[in-house]
Symmetry: C2
Subunit: 224 residues, 2 copies
């Protein structure tokens, strides 16, 4: 996604040097992917080894002066989540953002994540609904008769159901941060490592992502 | 998905009795979900407890005479996968089916699963590509002029990229079992616990799933 898959992590006096992205080096990344010899290597590790590495990623990386540290976890409430919360507890921990897709099965998983956050005393910044409806580009862009196509325009198909994220947030009494639609231009950008914000400002996912980011920034400023 | 979320697991002389689905009781299920007091309870367990439960699910459940035992694992190559392979090793283990979505990021994950299968000596039955393109129902169903709509008919949008699964299978020298398209009728069936096979035989996902199932059945018959 960020065109850094071939980059390596080096050692300096203060620890591992993270991989920097872009000319302005505004984003610093650390991933086990950078530590593998070959990209196809499977990391066949049980919990204790994963937990040790998570701690190292927090304490042994020369992060420098960060505005935000974002940890993208797998789904679940197991080793990765417990270890991340424990490793970050000594630092100013803003909270968790829970991402669900609209289906009941996914919302059920995230409901259990909410219970995890309560149990561990982790503040929930809000819920995001991802893959939330799809505006068909063949329906909305058109070279044919506008009046005939009118009822087709802006037809949005909820490939999955819709509203699960918002309902979950209401039920849990936490903010709902917004929906990110299924957007071929966003997928394509991630696929090809292109800069979505620069290239597709008119894409349907753009205002959705901007709105979510702004709310998180506002929350962090209120807390500081 | 199977309308059994409120069912409980009981004990009998030969172990836990799994939850049976449907009037013919053709499917028996076991899940940690059946063991929780409340559906929102988070299972905040590290590896060792998960591993113990996986072993119990194989050995302490009164499965009876099964045609197939299907284990649906999370993504990754960690505790759940190692423990499942270890617990099933004494039994006739047919192999693994790897499910990817078309994006490069997902294919990369599944490529590491392939390495895991090689390392653990697990046969790969094949690769399935899920969420593989979307046929817009507003484009293809129509009450308006057929000639005008002709070029819109069967327009398929690759919301994500396409072909990643097939390419992966070719690259790994394992069978490609097929693509399952994004299909609102399939999602709806899963969401509402309806019988997709009975209710939507004309849905685009139906022949795709039937084709995949048939190939797996053929493989299992060749191996027996």
């Amino acid at each position: 996604m960020l065109r850094v898959q071939d980059r390596a992590v080096h050692q300096c006096d203060s620890g591992w040097v993270p991989v920097f992205v872009g000319q302005d080096r505004a984003v610093a990344l650390m991933s086990i992917g950078f530590l593998l010899e070959r990209p196809d290597d499977a990391v066949v590790w049980r919990g204790p080894k994963k937990n040790a590495l998570i701690k190292q990623f927090v304490t042994d990386v020369a992060w420098g002066d960060l505005d935000f540290l974002i940890v993208d976890t797998p789904p679940g409430t197991s080793d990765e989540h417990i270890s991340t919360v424990e490793a970050l507890r000594p630092h100013r921990l803003l909270g968790a953002i829970l991402v669900t897709t609209p289906q009941a099965v996914s919302v059920g998983d995230v409901r259990r994540e909410l219970t995890f956050c309560k149990k561990t005393g982790l503040r929930v910044l809000g819920v995001v609904e991802n893959m939330s409806g799809f505006v068909c580009p063949h329906c909305s862009g058109s070279g044919i008769h506008d009046s005939l196509l009118f009822f087709l325009l802006q037809e949005c198909t909820n490939i999955f159901s819709k509203g699960g994220g918002e309902e979950l947030a209401k039920h849990a009494g936490v903010p709902f941060l917004g929906c990110v639609p299924l957007d071929p231009q966003l997928s394509q950008s991630l696929e090809e490592g292109r800069d979505f914000i620069q290239e597709f400002p008119k894409s349907s996912a753009f205002p959705a992502l901007a709105h979510i980011a702004q709310q998180i920034l506002d929350t962090s400023q209120q807390s500081s």
